[in-house]
């Protein structure tokens, strides 16, 4: 049987995107300091340039799907680690630390709420959840989201409109 030159070609995988994004985020974190806000769009863009140069449109679509999901996992994982650390309850803290820690825990809980709301949305309206993920977490404009998901802009807008209203309803106390 004829053997092709490269018997096992590998595509862009979720793990690869996650690892690369994580690396870039950590580097930026070191560079900018602990409390700076990173530009997620820029991170995703950089990872894109690293991983997806010269690839077919299909892998590019995959990439953004993975990147949005990876960014979401990255952030939610970070929030969970924070809560887990709290549970660990090691070391002594000053009052000032305690206040900061409380604020940080509050953020973490809010993030996990957002994640949970998205999961619930994904269970019933998976496409809506994808639109949110791509828009909020990969920083894509709705026009770009439409392209990535191969949807009409009209459909994307409708999904977005519903998803946003629902999230707002879920997350607003």
């Amino acid at each position: 049987m004829q053997q092709p030159a490269n018997p096992v070609a590998t595509g862009t995988t979720f793990d690869a995107v996650y690892a690369r994004l994580h690396q870039i985020a950590q580097r930026e974190r070191k560079r900018l300091g602990a409390r700076a806000t990173l530009n997620t769009t820029a991170l995703v863009h950089e990872a894109y340039l690293d991983l997806c140069k010269n690839t077919e449109p299909e892998s590019i679509r995959n990439f953004y799907g993975y990147a949005a999901r990876a960014m979401r996992n990255l952030l939610i994982d970070a929030a969970r680690q924070r809560l887990a650390a709290k549970r660990g309850g090691q070391a002594h803290h000053t009052d000032l630390d305690a206040a900061a820690r409380q604020a940080s825990e509050h953020d973490a809980v809010q993030a996990i709420e957002l994640d949970a709301a998205l999961r619930e949305l994904a269970a019933a309206e998976p496409r809506c959840a994808q639109v949110v993920e791509l828009h909020y977490f990969a920083g894509l404009a709705l026009e770009e989201v439409a392209k990535v998901l191969a949807l009409s802009l009209r459909t994307t807008n409708r999904d977005w409109q519903f998803a946003r209203a629902w999230l707002r309803h879920e997350l607003t106390p």
């Binding site: 049987m1 053997q3 092709p4 018997p7 096992v8 070609a9 590998t10 595509g11 995988t13 979720f14 793990d15 996650y18 690892a19 994580h22 950590q26 974190r29 602990a34 409390r35 806000t37 990173l38 997620t40 299909e58 999901r69 990876a70 990255l74 952030l75 939610i76 994982d77 970070a78 929030a79 969970r80 680690q81 887990a84 650390a85 549970r87 660990g88 090691q90 940080s104 953020d107 809010q110 993030a111 957002l114 999961r119 619930e120 949305l121 269970a123 309206e125 998976p126 909020y136 009409s152 009209r154 459909t155 409708r158 409109q161 519903f162 946003r164 209203a165 309803h169 997350l171 607003t172």
Partner: protein, 918 residues
């Protein structure tokens, strides 16, 4: 809470309405107050300006999260369980992997320590984690990397300790060595043996892929991360749709659907790996995408093996890795393999074989496939002149067929174990699959959604029909040209479904333009029939006699044109005509149309068929309304028995028939018989689950029967009040409210609360006039006239009497048993001053009603007692005494002395002929 998809439907419907109409629409269509509030809040959120504080708030939330992306603590040197981390080996989406060694140095053991990114947040999480870990620890095979330990570290991070395997990824290794087919197959057989060992212990890997298979320097193979996918996965509610744990291309379809992974899921991944190993092709990354074609050199038997291993239906794959390994061995030994050339007929045969005995469902499957196939082929035919287009259409025909085939995967998987799916379940399964994942091709998406909306309507699942039809129009509007037949057809169907859901305004809004467009383009067939049928219902509602009949006749003509005069579908046309005529109280015509429909149904479908039951119930309904109660009762019993013999989920028209039957029994026997009413309740609960209007109707039916029976009137009054509170807005509910108020007025008149009844009745009359039926408003008018005679007051105009006389004139010819109630009321008005008129009135009404009612019906006895009273008032004491004595004897015999209506009439004998002895 209603499902999210339902909330979405409501939400989007309201968005299209003007602000002012939303609250009203919601109040009318959304029963649950919580759901209403939810949708209202969502609407408020949606109408807030874009980029408002909420979007900012989300951005801030996401921004804050990044602060947690601290450089991870340097964990090198830390201990997890008995192991110390030595260096980082790699990062994955779910875990970071370190090289570890025994901390106590008791003996040298290199391990891989996996630190999970997810936390274990509850005691239950932790228990599940430990249980899984123990199961995996039992797995001991030279081809599988062992799980040595696992737990939660001091920092709260869950970890797993495994054999550290020093090897090369399978794909990279193959790339480096230039092995021949037989060496590759030997390696694959070893992989099957290792995975098969785990399958014997019912442990499934769940995430087999080349990067999880390492080849060591000695050429031995080790499988990593066995069962870890499950440990990593979060089993919360959303887990089913969480695809991130799955590797696209390798994961089996049932895993993608979120179903529990069985060994067959690993078989799927192994099949993909085998193809990769042999051909060098990469698996398609996207669901629905296909592999490149087979390289010519791939042996046929190996193709069969791979195709069998990667079947979409897990039941058609090899049972487990061992069985797949055996077929590979057979090939290597040049024996015939067990795998067959796969094909759709092979699969269909399999499916039919597994559902043997369930001819109906299997036939439906084929029917559905053929319908889809047929409509696409028809399109291909139309486009014959344009060769290019025809090719596209033919491709679509095949795609449609495959899609339909795929849609039944869930049914095959779930029902393969001997249970026969009902038609409703099959359609629901396919319909939901379509809603979840519509085909990419817009025309095909519209075509299929319309087809299944039609089937869902036929199977009685109106909510699903509505969702599918809505999706079809939405896609059609976004993607297809305005005069595209599919787009027009989708709107016709949506309108038709809306008419079935009694949303007549929406039905009309969809159907008028759809019918105009169909006519403009000369389009006939199914969409036209749907449009006609839906508009007929609209016109019936509106009471536009001529338009309705015109439509119904055209409907029959179209059916004859489309199917031929001798086709069963024409019978449906007669049912529609019958219902149109019945709707405008043209009972002779309706009777003839239904009789025709019944003859058609019996000739074409036989006794046991929905069409036969529907036609018969239609006839029953017409006779019921026109006052031929005895015949109606018999027909209702017969058609209800037919429905029951069919043993399928109740349809809407079945519910209507059962409720009419129940009402009729309530009236005729004065008793709320169990069968009719309990079946009506059960069926309407299934078809209109949670619908408040139907809950109200059920209460109303029971109260109405209680009135006839003379049971606890106080309780009946309460039930009627409850029923009224349940009804929403709209003309149908106006009619229902009118009827409730009329029944309440009945009770008020019995207990002498005339002013109260008088105050309530004018509105009831106008409510009852919302529908074309003439008898109920007449009854309410007679009640008002009587209340006014007892307690004059506002609303008691002088011409009331004339109005009642005029309204009743055309109805007298019907000899309707309910006219008895009208005549009793009028006779009581006349009793004091015109007893002779009262006598004539009562005698003729009693004679009519006695034809249809049982001889001891309380209404008959009541009327006879009033007749005696009128005779006494007129001075015919002998006749009065005789009438009274005879009636009272019957009252005693029937134990109706305490019936309030009867008792009241019995007490009314005036003193002129007293004393009366008997």
């Amino acid at each position: 809470m209603a499902p999210l998809s339902t909330l979405r439907r409501w939400f989007e419907h309201c968005l299209d309405l003007p602000d002012g109409e939303r609250a009203n629409w919601l109040a009318q269509h959304v029963g649950d107050a919580g759901d209403r509030a939810r949708v209202e809040r969502m609407l408020a959120a949606a109408t807030a300006p874009q980029g408002d504080s909420f979007d900012e708030e989300i951005s801030v939330r996401i921004g804050r999260l990044q602060e947690g992306l601290d450089v991870p603590p340097d964990r090198i040197g830390r201990c997890y369980g008995a192991f110390r981390l030595v260096r980082e080996l790699g990062q994955g989406g779910q875990a970071v992997v370190y090289l570890g060694e025994r901390a106590d140095g008791a003996f040298k053991q290199a391990v891989a320590v996996k630190l999970l990114r997810r936390g274990l947040f509850s005691a239950q999480d932790l228990r599940g984690f430990r249980r899984e870990r123990e199961i995996l620890a039992r797995l001991d095979h030279p081809g599988i990397a062992r799980l040595i330990d696992g737990g939660v570290g001091e920092d709260g991070v869950p970890y797993l300790v495994m054999d550290h395997v020093d090897g090369t990824r399978l794909d990279a290794w193959l790339q480096a060595k230039e092995l021949g087919t037989s060496a590759r197959l030997a390696l694959f057989a070893a992989l099957c043996a290792a995975v098969g060992a785990a399958h014997r212990q019912l442990i499934v890997h769940r995430d087999l892929k080349p990067s999880n298979v390492l080849v060591q320097a000695d050429g031995m193979l080790k499988v990593l991360d066995f069962g870890i996918a499950r440990l990593l996965d979060e089993e919360d509610a959303g887990a089913n749709t969480e695809l991130h744990m799955l590797t696209p291309g390798y994961a089996a379809p049932e895993q993608v659907r979120g179903e529990p992974a069985m060994p067959a899921a690993d078989v799927h991944a192994l099949g993909v790996i085998l193809r990769q190993i042999l051909t060098g092709q990469s698996p398609p990354q996207r669901a629905g995408a296909s592999w490149p074609s087979w390289p010519d050199a791939t042996p046929r038997e190996l193709r069969w093996i791979i195709e069998r291993a990667t079947q979409a239906d897990p039941g058609l794959r090899y049972r487990d890795a061992a069985e797949l390994g055996e077929d590979i061995e057979r090939y290597r030994e040049q024996r015939p393999v067990h795998a067959h050339p796969p094909g759709r007929w092979y699969r269909t045969r399999k499916f039919v074989a597994r559902h043997r005995g369930g001819v109906g469902a299997s036939a439906l499957l084929l029917l559905v496939a053929l319908l889809g196939f047929g409509s696409a082929l028809w399109q291909a035919h139309v486009a014959r002149e344009q060769a290019q287009l025809a090719r596209t259409q033919a491709d679509r025909a095949i795609a449609v067929r495959d899609f339909v085939d795929r849609m039944f995967d869930a049914v095959r998987d779930g029902r393969g174990r001997g249970e026969e799916p009902s038609m409703r379940e099959l359609v629901a399964s396919a319909g939901h699959a379509l809603l979840r994942a519509p085909p990419h091709d817009a025309a095909m998406a519209v075509d299929l959604a319309s087809l299944f909306a039609d089937l869902a309507e036929a199977s009685g699942d109106l909510a699903l029909a509505d969702e599918l039809a809505t999706q079809a129009t939405r896609t059609a509007d976004a993607e297809l040209a305005p005069d595209e037949p599919l787009r027009i057809g989708a709107h016709a169907l949506l309108g038709f479904v809306a008419s079935k859901r009694e949303n007549y305004a929406r039905a009309e809004a969809e159907l008028r333009p759809a019918l105009a467009a169909l006519d403009r383009h000369g389009l006939r067939g199914r969409p036209l029939l749907r449009a006609l049928e839906g508009l007929e219902a609209v016109e019936t509602m509106r009471g536009d006699r001529s338009a309705d009949i015109r439509l119904a006749r055209r409907d029959i003509d179209e059916r004859i044109a489309a199917f031929g005069a001798d086709n069963p579908a024409v019978g449906t046309g007669y049912v529609n005509l019958g219902s149109a005529l019945e709707g405008i109280e043209e009972y002779a015509g309706a009777d003839a149309a239904y009789t025709q429909a019944l003859a058609f149904a019996l000739a074409h479908h036989g006794e046991h068929n929905v069409a036969t039951a529907e036609a018969q119930c239609g006839l029953a309904s017409t006779r019921w309304r026109s006052g031929r109660w005895r015949s109606a009762l018999e027909l209702f019993r017969a058609c209800a028995a037919r429905y029951q013999a069919l043993q399928h989920a109740p349809t809407q028209s079945e519910v209507y028939s059962l409720t009419k039957w129940c009402v009729l029994e309530g009236w005729m026997l004065g008793a709320h018989t169990d069968e009719a009413c309990s079946r009506a309740d059960a069926a309407s609960t299934r078809v209109f689950a949670g619908d408040r209007d139907y809950a109200g109707e059920s209460l109303q039916r029971r109260a109405s029967a209680m009135i006839e029976r003379g049971a606890d009137y106080a309780h009946a009054e309460q039930m009627l009040e409850q029923a009224r509170a349940l009804y929403g807005d709209g003309p149908l509910n106006a009619m229902r409210k009118g009827r409730v108020d009329q029944l309440r007025a009945d009770l008020l008149l019995v207990r002498g609360a005339f002013a109260q009844a008088r105050a309530m009745l004018p509105e009831a009359i106008s409510d009852l006039r919302e529908r074309p039926y003439k008898l109920q408003p007449l009854l309410a008018q007679a009640q008002l006239l009587f209340a006014c005679s007892q307690a004059p007051g506002p609303g008691c105009t002088n011409d009331l009497r004339t109005q009642v006389e005029q309204a009743q004139a055309p109805l007298l010819a019907w000899h309707h048993p309910q006219m008895l109630q009208v005549q009793v009321l009028l006779a009581r008005v006349d009793l004091a001053d015109h007893p002779r008129a009262a006598i004539t009135r009562l005698q003729s009404a009693i004679a009519d009603a006695a034809q249809e009612l049982p001889a001891t019906h309380p209404r008959l006895l009541e009327a006879s007692l009033w007749l005696a009273a009128a005779q006494a008032q007129a001075g015919d004491c002998d006749a009065a005494r005789q009438e009274r004595a005879g009636t009272l004897a019957e009252v005693h015999a029937a134990a109706l002395d305490k019936h309030p209506l009867v008792a009241k009439a019995a007490a009314a004998m005036t003193e002129r002929c007293a004393p009366v002895t008997h």
